[in-house]
Amino acid sequence: MLAVEGLVKRFGGFTAVNNVSFRVEQGEILGLIGPNGSGKSTIFNMLSGTLVPTAGSILFDGAEIAGVAPHRIINRGIGRTFQIPRPFHRLSIFENVALAGYYGQGRHSRAKADEAAERALRMVGLPTDRHASVDGLGAAGLKKLELAKALATGPKLLLADESLGGLDEHEMDQAADMLRKIRDELGITIIWVEHIMGVLMRVVDRVMVLDHGEKISEGLPSAVAGDPRVIEVYLGTDADSSQIAAAEARRKAGV
């Protein structure tokens, strides 16, 4: 469904993303992890059209979308959420989502937009009341709204950007289940960017790990978690020996 080849993004002399290639298959949930500044969000911004790649190609359903304007990409079926929720405060919750339902689906009709908004709000569990204000929402509610906006555009591929930051553990589990539900019920393919490895590993089919703009590992969650390069990136080289020793000890103890 999505084929990324040799993607590069440079900001002046700094290379944020260096020659990254990957594929996403229809119906899977791909986890994209990596430390801060590893290039996850930059890749997202290129996939969604906010940034133009320096080099490389992004094929979505066989068509090149690298450098295409964001609103066109949305209309081709790639929805996105932002790391920090960006609701429109001057619009009600419903209007926020209806806007996405209208403009994200080729401006067909208002009825269709309202319908999409209602479906998306119900999916994420927000009130479908037309006038409820955005200002009443907490961190979890704003994340849900962000997701509803993306869903209302009728995506085939959903780019979910660190959707769990700022949530407690219970809310995190709920949100993770939500993404899985979106895939299972709506058949939407998902790329999920996240810092928090634990919850992500439970839900995704495949993981890709980035560090300093380069892909260092890719595969099944269990395989990636055991990859020494990933452990190095996440735990640091100095901690390495003691951490690995501790892990060995635990394994020997039969845990």
């Binding site: 059209g49 906010t50 949305i74 932002f82 960006r86 806007l99 403009y103 994200g104 689906q105 555009t153």
Partner: protein, 323 residues
């Protein structure tokens, strides 16, 4: 909702009937001015309410007035054709200035500065081409030669002008309302808060902003042309330039930026103020209205940002809840 439509209907009927029962020319003249300027202010507020603060609308108004008058005087083009041409000219000017601004994300104060320059440039062009436009001395469309004013859109009768102005004013309010109820309003509110997030919802940010700017510029040019046809005299000070642009901003903010009749209330206040100063102080008070505008503008932006009508309506809305 129905009582609201009824109120509009009764109000409108009263306004249509007015010149047939009340014929005092001076008061009718003031009303015509109020209606034409209300239309111009409404045009400004259509984009201004979304944070697209333009100080270039004096330029659009000037183009509307001068292009119509010049076509009539030099090429014998009837205002019926000249006005649409002048509107197209203002529209093209708006697109030429606004497209690069929107494409390259010139927003906020920088957008205001670009539009300010537009006002200045139009004013300079009018004064520089004084051989054609009369420069700062002003310009008068030639009187209709055939005797029939209809073709030349020239009427001596105040009642006719009152009805024309009333019709255009109502059309302006309808356009305001249409925008207010359209998906474009959602899109523009979203854009005014966060352009990237709006784009991520699928909004073509540049196109939406251009659309609203174009509507606003076309309407403003029409206001300029009507003003010219009605007054039969235009000068850079009255229909163009920065002073006119500022007057629009002032009137709309005082009246109320977010309500349909706000610009109209603003027009009533500014025109009454100008007339009171003119009659009360005569030539000694030339330019005083601008001074008063300036001071009031600062006071309003700080203490009453929703304007007079907006604040009154807000109070009416919230009161029943309290009791």
């Amino acid at each position: 909702m129905n009582s609201r439509y009824a109120a509009w209907g009764v109000g409108l009927a009263a306004l249509i009937a007015l010149p047939f029962v009340y014929r005092e020319p001076y008061h009718l003249h003031i009303l015509v001015l109020i209606l034409i300027w209300s239309f111009a202010y409404t045009a400004w507020s259509i984009m201004g309410r979304f944070g697209l603060v333009s100080l270039g609308h004096g330029g659009f108004m000037g183009v509307g007035a001068y292009v119509t008058a010049l076509l009539w005087n030099h090429l014998d083009v009837s205002p019926w054709i000249g006005i649409p041409i002048s509107m197209v000219a203002a529209g093209v000017l708006a697109l030429v200035v606004a497209y690069p601004c929107f494409r390259f994300r010139i927003t906020g104060h920088y957008f205001v500065l670009v539009t300010l320059a537009l006002s200045g440039i139009v004013l300079q062009v009018i004064t520089a081409t004084r051989d054609y436009t009369g420069g700062s001395l002003g310009y008068t469309p030639d009187r209709a030669r055939s005797g029939s004013g209809l073709l030349a859109l020239q009427f001596d009768d105040k009642t006719t002008w009152y009805l024309i102005a009333l019709f255009v004013w109502v059309v302006g309010l309808l356009i305001w309302r249409w925008v207010d109820r359209s998906m474009s309003r959602y899109a523009m509110e979203a854009i005014s808060e966060d352009e990237d997030a709006a784009a991520a919802a699928g909004v073509n940010v540049t196109a939406e902003k251009l659309k609203i700017t174009l509507i606003s510029a076309l309407m403003t040019a029409l206001a300029g042309a009507l003003y010219c046809q009605y007054q039969m005299f235009i000068s850079p000070d009255t229909v163009s330039g920065i002073a006119v642009s500022l007057q629009m901003v002032f009137a709309v903010i005082v009246g109320g930026l977010y309500v349909s009749l706000g610009p109209t209330v603003g027009a009533v206040i500014t025109i009454m103020l100008a007339e009171v100063l003119r009659i009360g102080f005569g030539t000694k008070a030339v330019g005083w209205d601008n001074l008063v505008y300036g001071v009031l503008l600062v006071i309003f932006i700080i203490f009453l940002p929703k304007g007079i009508l907006g604040s009154v309506l807000d109070r009416l809305k919230t009161q029943p809840k309290k009791t």
